[in-house]
Point group: D2
Chain length 336, copies 4
């Protein structure tokens, strides 16, 4: 049960609500986000929610039968938007496109990428500065100095910075440069990191785990939301299966499922989901047609010399062509 | 290596070619399909194919580095079409839609379905008369008498009959009523059945195994083709993974992969791939956008009382709406 | 519900029982095996089984809550044995070991293998004469003539022949030479083949599907049993997962699970389950310790030149060492 | 390539070695563990390792063809031991058994468990005080105060404390109470945590990821080792597959594989690997027979009222019986 509280609720009124919940052996968690205050109450008894709904200080009340609560569409049927200012939004009413290299490399690549994005009216640039790598001896990213350069050029062009955060201790240093913190697949159930991002007032792009279920993805989002941050986008990026002809298997079913179960926006990463350049466009288009609110893909000026993931990166002309196709597919979908 | 032979090649000419192949320790299989004759030669030595290509009786010659040969696009770059007569084709230039109940039930349902299909200009009806069931005590289908009724009404309306064949011994009895034999997921590597279908001159809809790889699907197609039957459509129908929120995981990557590697048409079955009615349209549209040449889905006049698979069947009005959307998506895709 | 019938039950008595079941809307299937007659009744109503149990002609009655019935241990708690005559049994009280090449090759290999088995007191020889192969161009086995040689030498030495049957039409030709028909992983849900093997009075070694669940394995066994053949051994042979460091993943959990849920004997195939020679002994021993009633593994006089699966075959000295270890492990397990 | 350095190597000598490596375009990482100093050099050129091996200051040199280096058995063929003092070791020569509740609950349970362990000569107690939970509303463990009680009673009885650490910031607070830090499955690729544990001088129990490959497990161990901590045990705990009859699938193949590829000890967690109490003993015994150096399992005085994982916990009498069986199986295995 989600009990949305009035802005001006008094401590005494909260006490009355909690006492009533106690009576029915419901445990209640306080949730204070940047937007609202809630009590999330969990219990087994049959309970007349109208009675609690009529208590002073209660703005609204919803029964939510899903195991996840705040991210469920059972209590919030209209889709959430994430507002980045500058007329940049992630929402169900316009397609968000995010592109950029797997790893930030040097300033020249940043500048070229920003120019390309700007000239194509793309408002998000992705790029990793801290890279999770299987081997401890592999390149682990350019770090915070690279991020500063990345942010400088993006912000000068009105482009939002999307980059991965790998641990709690990085958040503060990254904060002023980042517009959207990405949680990578390997950290999708790093609950301490999710808790910490719940305290941040910037949007989160939450990737599904390597073999995460869609339910686990929603639970991870619930961590961030119940920690205080409502600005979350869910990201399908392919799952690990027995099939080895491509890097992962894009779980296209996840898109209508997540749009049905949650009010959060859903972004598709076709690059990791298939991992082979020549198939990226087809599966990205499929994602839009299945209902995705955005696409994040890997792009590089010269994929053949990229520090990482060149084999799944599109070059600029390929990307330009794809933007137009994605936008046309989105318009068609909206018309249905 | 695929050596396509001239129609009028003499036994002596074949002998010369085989002798040349023997010299390089290549083993050669004769393949005579309804359309052409080939030698499929497999070996390891470096060999000058122009030399063999210039031998009398050789129409064409291709090196094919894939492990599957005749179904590969390496030797036949233009896409194959399957012609059913009556202006009905499966091809890359027009979207094929196949709909109908999971199981054929009674004549009334057949008649209603045929009327619905005809009024929507759909030229294929699917429906099972022999049903593979996990439990030996479950309903196993209406059998050959049901097939006769099914065929009677379809053929009167110019609609093609698509139905599953489960074993070699059924082929003869089914032959005159069926326009396209479906090989189900559980029989995708039933090599004796595939061999037998190679001898049939009617088209085959070959489903991917429950956990089959895309390579195994191509190998299974190679069985049919090398057995003599070129009229094969490949069917993605979802794979088995750890994710249990839906029946299967639609492997959307398979669609551009199969269209890239093989000249055979690719059909998507969204019904089994997701297994939940309300998501069928989204994933079907995704499949078209990813490049599928056709869609086969489950439809029932009253899904709630269907003998089987009602939870994933669309009703007639839902189907009608989907046809229009699929056709619009196909047109958009073709325009790219 | 399983209603075991008396040998001398009259048609009238069966009619009375069926009438009673009809009254409660239970559907009943007749099952006549080589040993017994049963009615397997399936329905939803609460029903007093004592009332049916007291009807004339009923030998015994059992409520079975599992979806599979006759193979369940819910009605038959003691473990079934399979008796091959000549003091050869598959049972829970002695470890059955089966060894031999993946493919039967020539007479010399048969003779050497039989000698080796005989000198080590192994009573089963495995070997394929019909081979399911992904590629239609690969070696498909020596066929029925090879089987004749295989059987001749085994039977002269008191050794039982275990070999794969791939389709219904092979059963008659193979029948007189085979002591145990193996159903391969790719045919684990080939229901027509299972039906046909239900009519055969020789034991069946039923392999789990490539990605079959343990429930599906039990259902496939139910097909054979309800078809009339009670002599079935279940075979775990590894499942398909994302892990690619070995051929398959041996699902060791399946062994105690199957022994708990079913009265049928359980055999482990460690060769396919791991696929790498040097690990075969460790996982075979693990299987015995987990409760397997038998082990079937691939062995070859000269694995390095085997026609197929040499990389997972043990040679004779390795096998000899393994027999002793398996027997010691089995004795220890029995002592617990 | 692993270049083990002499204890008294001079900076000048290191410079000479690095210069030589540079010449061949090898990149070299310094690794200083609590035991030794190494250079791990990675490159592609053919190189005469004897030349580098003869340079002053080099103690030993090994070519390691695996992608992981320091954890490979290619350079260290004898198995590593982890010494906890007090005659407690994890090693290949004696079976290590670790038991205890999933979650530490109250002092009474700790005391009872310690008594039980002591009377059975078990030297490790497991128990979680920080619990990773899918839902943010679930019980997250008793925290550091619980750990203090846990450690007090264990240490008084000469029993070692094994418990999970979830994030870098917990390490310092936990350090004095913990004898072995467990990295849970969800953190198996949390590289920042692995880096931090490389700086700790206490042993690490590293669990395989939910869907981690065995190679990824070895890479994660390489992070810890190259960070400076050689005291690592690898833990197989079941993997995520399509099979839903048990919690996970125990990958028994992983045990001989890891013992073959790495010199690190291998521990099996049968409780999570199967997740059903009555099968835990069978699969634990299988693990020992396959070559595991230790078993860690969940045990509770009253499993039916455990805070978490009661359905897979053994009670004390069941555990006592299992200890004897595990030890007997280990002795048998050693005798082979």
């Amino acid at each position: 049960m989600i009990i949305q509280l009035k802005k001006n609720i008094s401590p005494e009124q909260i006490f009355v609500i909690r006492t009533e919940l106690d009576k029915h052996k419901y445990s209640a968690s306080d949730v204070n986000t940047q937007k609202n205050s809630y009590l999330v109450a969990i219990g087994k008894a049959e309970i007349d929610i109208r009675r609690i709904g009529s208590l002073p200080g209660v703005a609204d009340i919803h029964r939510v039968s899903d195991d996840y609560k705040l991210v469920s569409r059972k209590w919030k049927t209209e889709y959430s938007e994430i507002d980045f200012g500058d007329n940049v939004k992630i929402s169900a009413s316009a397609l968000s496109i995010m592109a950029g290299p797997c790893s930030i490399e040097g300033e020249e690549l940043i500048v070229k990428t920003v120019e390309h994005l700007k000239s194509n009216n793309i408002r998000f640039m992705r790029g990793g500065v801290f890279k999770p790598r299987s081997s401890p001896y592999a390149f682990r990213g350019v770090g915070i100095d690279g991020l500063k350069l990345f942010a400088k050029h993006c912000h000068a062009a009105g482009i939002k910075v999307v980059t991965e955060v790998m641990q709690t201790s990085q958040i503060d240093d990254m904060y002023q440069y980042v517009d959207m913190f990405q949680v990578g697949a390997r950290n999708s159930q790093n609950y301490n990191l999710l808790d910490a991002l719940g305290k941040v007032d910037k949007p989160i792009l939450l990737k599904r785990g390597l073999s995460g279920t869609v339910e686990e993805l929603l639970f991870s989002a619930e961590y961030i939301f119940s920690g205080g941050n409502e600005k979350i986008a869910l990201c399908e990026r392919g799952i690990r299966t027995y099939e080895k002809s491509y890097r992962n298997v894009l779980d296209i079913n996840a898109i209508p499922f997540l749009k049905d179960k949650s009010h959060l926006p859903v972004i598709l990463d076709p690059s990791h989901a298939v991992g082979i350049r020549k198939y990226v466009d087809s599966v990205a288009l499929a994602g839009v047609m299945a209902g995705a609110d955005g696409i994040i893909f890997e792009m590089h000026d010269q994929p053949e010399i990229a520090f990482s993931d060149g084999q799944q990166s599109l070059n600029f002309p390929e990307s330009k062509k794809l933007y137009a196709q994605l936008r046309a597919a989105f318009e068609l979908r909206k018309s249905f």
